[in-house]
Symmetry: C2
Subunit: 177 residues, 2 copies
C-alpha cells in the first residue's frame, strides 16, 4: 500500500495514538487503513465412502487436487461461501453439515474453514477453475498431489474421525514450509 | 474506495474477466482490489460458575457490556487474537478451550469467533478500552445492557450447553436489526 484509497495522497507507516501496531495512515485525510486476514471457505463433500476433489485449472498449484473452496465475499455468510464455491468449482449441490476444520495460515494471511457436506447427487461438472472433478476412496487419495496443506490436513482429520465414528471441529495452525 | 492504493490513480467499479462480481479496478495499473469480511475474535472467560464481561469505554456501544474480543491482525492466529484481546481489555490470563461460537454478521462485513476460556487467576484489570471488568453469575447477567448480539447469543449458547453438561461449537447468522 502506497496511496490512500480514500483521497489518493501518499500513506505512511505509523502507529496511531492508542494503537499497538504500525498502520498505513494517510498524511492528507488521516484515514487509517487496517489490514486483516481473509477467510477461505469450502466443503469436504462426501458420497458414501468417497470424497470429492477438484483438480486445479489455475495457479497456484495448477494440476494439483483440492477441496472446493475460495475467498469469502462481502455480503456472504461462511456457509454461503462454502455452498457457492462447491457449486462453482465442482458443479456440486451439497447439504451442508457442521463446520469441520479451522486452520490458521498466518504466512498467507488467511484462515481456512471447511464444512463437511453430503453430495445430493452425482451430477458433477468441473467449473472454470477446475480441470476435473473426481470421487476418491480413502485408499486412492492422491496424497502427493494435494494442492494445499490445509486440504491435506482436513482430509486426514476426516478419515481419522470417520474411523472413530465421531466427527468434531478441528483447529490447527499451518506453519511456514 | 476511490483511488488505487498501489499507484494512486482513480479506481472504477467493474467486473473483471472471469469474475462474477464488480471489484474496484485501477484504470492505470489494473490492480484489482478485493474486499473481504474481517474476523473479530474473543473469549468467553469462566471462573467457577461466573463469566467475565467488560464494560466498553469506547464507541460503538460505550457503557455496554461485552466479552473481550477484537479484530484479528495480520501475523496472528485466531487463538492468538483471542488471548491478546482478553489480556488487553480485561488484563486476564486464560487457558484457551475449544472454539465455541462462529457468528456471521453480514451487514457489518464481519465474522465473530469466540473461544471458551478458563481464567487462570482473578488478577483482572480494565484496559484502555474498558470502563470496568466484572464476573457475573448467570442470574446477574445484564441482558439488557449487552453491547452486541453476537455476545448475547454466545452467552445464551454457553448457559444452555452448561445446563446440558455438553459444550459444542455453535454457528449462527445475525440478521440486520
Amino acid at each position: 500500500m502506497k496511496f490512500c484509497s480514500a483521497c489518493g495522497h501518499a500513506v505512511v507507516l505509523r502507529t496511531p495514538r492508542g494503537d499497538q501496531r504500525a498502520r498505513f495512515v494517510c498524511t492528507h485525510c488521516h484515514t487509517i487503513h487496517y489490514q486483516n486476514p481473509r477467510n477461505v471457505v469450502g466443503t469436504l463433500p462426501v458420497w458414501n465412502d468417497q470424497v470429492l476433489l477438484c483438480r486445479r485449472a489455475i495457479e497456484p498449484r495448477y494440476g494439483f487436487w483440492t477441496l472446493p473452496a475460495g475467498f469469502m465475499e462481502l455480503g456472504e455468510t461462511t456457509a454461503q461461501t462454502a455452498l457457492r464455491e462447491t457449486l462453482e468449482e465442482a458443479g456440486a449441490r451439497v447439504a451442508l453439515q457442521p463446520l469441520f476444520s479451522l486452520l490458521n495460515v498466518v504466512h498467507a494471511q488467511q484462515v481456512h474453514l471447511f464444512y463437511r457436506a453430503r453430495l445430493i447427487d452425482l451430477d458433477l461438472r468441473a467449473g472454470d477453475e477446475s480441470l476435473e472433478v473426481q470421487l476418491f476412496e480413502e485408499a486412492r487419495i492422491p496424497w502427493d498431489q494435494i494442492a494445499f496443506r490445509t486440504v491435506g490436513q482436513t482430509l486426514r482429520f476426516f478419515f481419522a474421525d470417520r474411523l472413530k465414528g465421531d466427527f468434531n471441529l478441528h483447529t490447527a495452525d499451518i506453519e511456514t514450509e
